[in-house]
């Protein structure tokens, strides 16, 4: 430590010391001013940025979504109205590639997104401008690494989610070809948005049913389950006894019968 300070102080008479200090001072004053002025000016500017975003979103919507959802997002026979679904719903559906749908089969499936983050945000802004709804969630705001309790999240998950998504979040079957998708590898903000918007067959878990803190716990547990090494050897898909039975017959009894054949044939 002493060495470091000593070294730093040995530069104090350097010929660039004075200009450098001046530069730092100027930068400090300048940025203080710019922040202060931005605080007063931001409101009006955001308003106009917002309206450009909304009109951009409206354009994208008319090109890419209105054929099913209607020109004013009023919905149709084949697609629901989007008035009041909120930005969170758009962010989830478009951000995970579920919308726009590639085919009108049982259920929209996760695929590479069609729109980039900016376009998706514009769409969200447009849909949010139609009627109030849940706002989209910033990944940084989902502080599951810091907050939340894994064990409590596990209990909540088993009570509210496991019946469709399986005990380890691997997903499961619903009726008529619909399914609860796997939750492994899903970004925290999409898990959160799914809970507050209830996409497709999923119910909405609002903040009264499961509080925001509890939602973080669920995410924390899911992330723990995802990163948990397979403790007893190969996990066999974490889907329960079906794969175990298959392995017992094919590998277990299969090997033993093979050995029995070998033992009996040696005797000839």
């Amino acid at each position: 430590m002493k060495f470091g300070i000593a070294k730093l102080s040995s530069y104090r008479r350097h010929r660039f010391a004075a200009p450098a200090l001046l530069l730092v001072a100027l930068l400090g004053v300048g940025s203080t001013f710019s922040v202060a002025s931005a605080l007063t000016a931001s409101k009006a500017e955001t308003q106009s940025a917002m309206s450009t975003q909304v009109s951009e979103g409206k354009q994208i919507f008319e090109r890419g979504c209105s054929s099913c959802h209607g020109l004013n997002a009023e919905g149709s026979k084949i697609a629901p109205a989007l008035i009041g679904v909120g930005a969170a719903s758009v962010d989830f559906q478009v951000g995970t590639g579920r919308m726009p749908m590639a085919d009108m089969s049982q259920q929209a499936m996760r695929k590479p997104p069609v729109y980039n983050a900016e376009q998706s945000a514009a769409l969200a802004a447009y849909v949010a401008s139609l009627a109030p709804g849940p706002a989209s969630v910033n990944e940084a705001a989902i502080t599951w690494q810091r907050d939340g309790n894994t064990a409590q999240g596990g209990e909540l998950f088993r009570t509210n989610c496991a019946m469709c998504h399986n005990f380890a979040g691997q997903g499961g079957a619903l009726s008529q070809g619909k399914y609860a998708p796997t939750l492994m590898g899903v970004e925290a903000k999409y898990i959160y948005e799914a809970m507050i918007t209830g996409p497709q067959s999923m119910p909405i878990f609002n903040d009264k049913t499961i509080s925001p803190a509890e939602k973080l716990s669920i995410i924390k547990w899911l992330k723990a389950a995802q990163s948990e090494p397979s403790l007893g050897g190969a996990s066999l898909g974490r889907t329960g006894p079906v794969t175990e039975g298959l392995l017992a017959w094919v590998l277990g009894l299969g090997i033993l019968i093979g050995i029995a054949v070998w033992l009996a044939s040696k005797a000839r």
């Binding site: 005990f167 997903g171 499961g172 079957a173 079906v242 019968i257």
Partner: protein, 530 residues
Amino acid sequence: MKKSEKIAGNVANYVDERTGAAKWLKKNLTKVFPDHWSFMLGEVALYSFIILLLTGTFLTFWFDPSMREVVYNGGYQPLSNVKMSAAYASSLHISFDVRGGLLMRQIHHWAALIFMAAMIAHLMRVFFTGAFRKPREANWLIGVGLVTLGIVEGFLGYSLPDDLLSGTGLRIAEAILQAIPVAGSYLAFFAFGGAFPGHVFIPRIYTVHILLLPGIFLALITVHLMLVWYQKHTQYPGPGRTEKNVVGYPLMPVYMAKAGGFFFIVFGVTAFLGAVASINPIWLYGPYTPGQISAGSQPDFYMGWLDGLVRMSPPLETHAFGHTISWNILIPGLIVPGILFTGMALYPFIESWMTGDKREHHLLDRPRNNPNRTALGAMSIAFMLVILINGGNDLIATHFYLTINQIMWFTRIGVFVVPPIVFIITKRLCLALQRKDREIVLHGRETGRLVMLPHGEFIEVHEELSAEKKYTLTQHEQPRALEVPDTDGRGVRNPQGIKGKLRARMSQAHVEQVSAPSESEAKALESGHH
């Protein structure tokens, strides 16, 4: 004589003079057993049972069969401070805090699956080769009893850890109990000591799982093996093998070495599975709470067919005299399994009745030489597989991109349609194989070698079978259908009634086969061009 030899001789003599063991040992150690891989399936089951006893004993040292509520504070962090039963907490303790505990738990569970699979495979072997025929009907009954008890024992075993999955299974077991008309609710209250889940069930099934059923298993297995010993082992037909002898190797030293070695192989394979493949990861399931359930809750495979039956049954209920009769549980949960297992147990007697065959059999049938029985067996397996598919319908749906409704309707219809089709196809296959046997006995094996004769004709050279092979392919008997007289001596029409007609019809179906080539047919060919 060396000094050590002298001491050994003296000890042996001392024991023999007091027990007379020498004569008994000499007789039994030289006992001859026939050799075939399919005779070792029962051995796999026996050795798995021994592995189950050993690993199960290890698990009892730490398992706490109590439904007392505790707060978990062990090594598995994602469950810390969660309230759970002592049974579940101690299972977690075995898995994470006991040295080798998880390995032992996994070996125990894998051994249980292999035990059941081996018993079922052994049962199929006995069925398809006709080894259940007189004098072995009693041993067949014991075998059916062992399979049935195995299902119960396995179910109770995986229910013990009191995890979310097993609790779901117990809930269904309770529902099946309750479905028994009138007595059901009383029986359920009696078994669970009150309303589900109560506090007594885990300790009760623990006693049954580790004491009562293993005791019955040991007794039944002992009688099973004593009967094999006393009645002697069956053998496949072949030259020199008759109903009166056993051709094979002596117990000492051949089978002592083989069986001893095979035990360690079975132990090795089971331990390998236990070491590399996770089974029943209870820590992921979480503790049982009646309010929770997981998607894809399935039982182990030997109960899976039962689950499939319950899943496919339509919602039928009757309300009568203040009672509800839940046909949707009663039929798939009790009536159909009852019919299946009763039918299986009685099959030796049914077959002997319809063929009128009351003789002793020590030579096995080649499955193709009894097409009707083989087809019946294949039909039963097809039935089981169809309902087993429905037992895993949700996993099949998600993994093969199908809908659960399609699978359920496929199995609902398939359970009636597929078995008869399998019966017909299997019977035709058996008859075709018999025809093939007949063909190669008479004309030899096609060698694929084409020869051009001097006058330009091409012929394929057929290689005649060895005499031994010919004997093996033609030794089976040609059964005749039972004849039921239309009128008896006093002119009474159809004296045996509808039962007689049924018996005649069944016996006719049972004897249908391609006749094996007779000696005169073979002679006629020999004098010909071959």
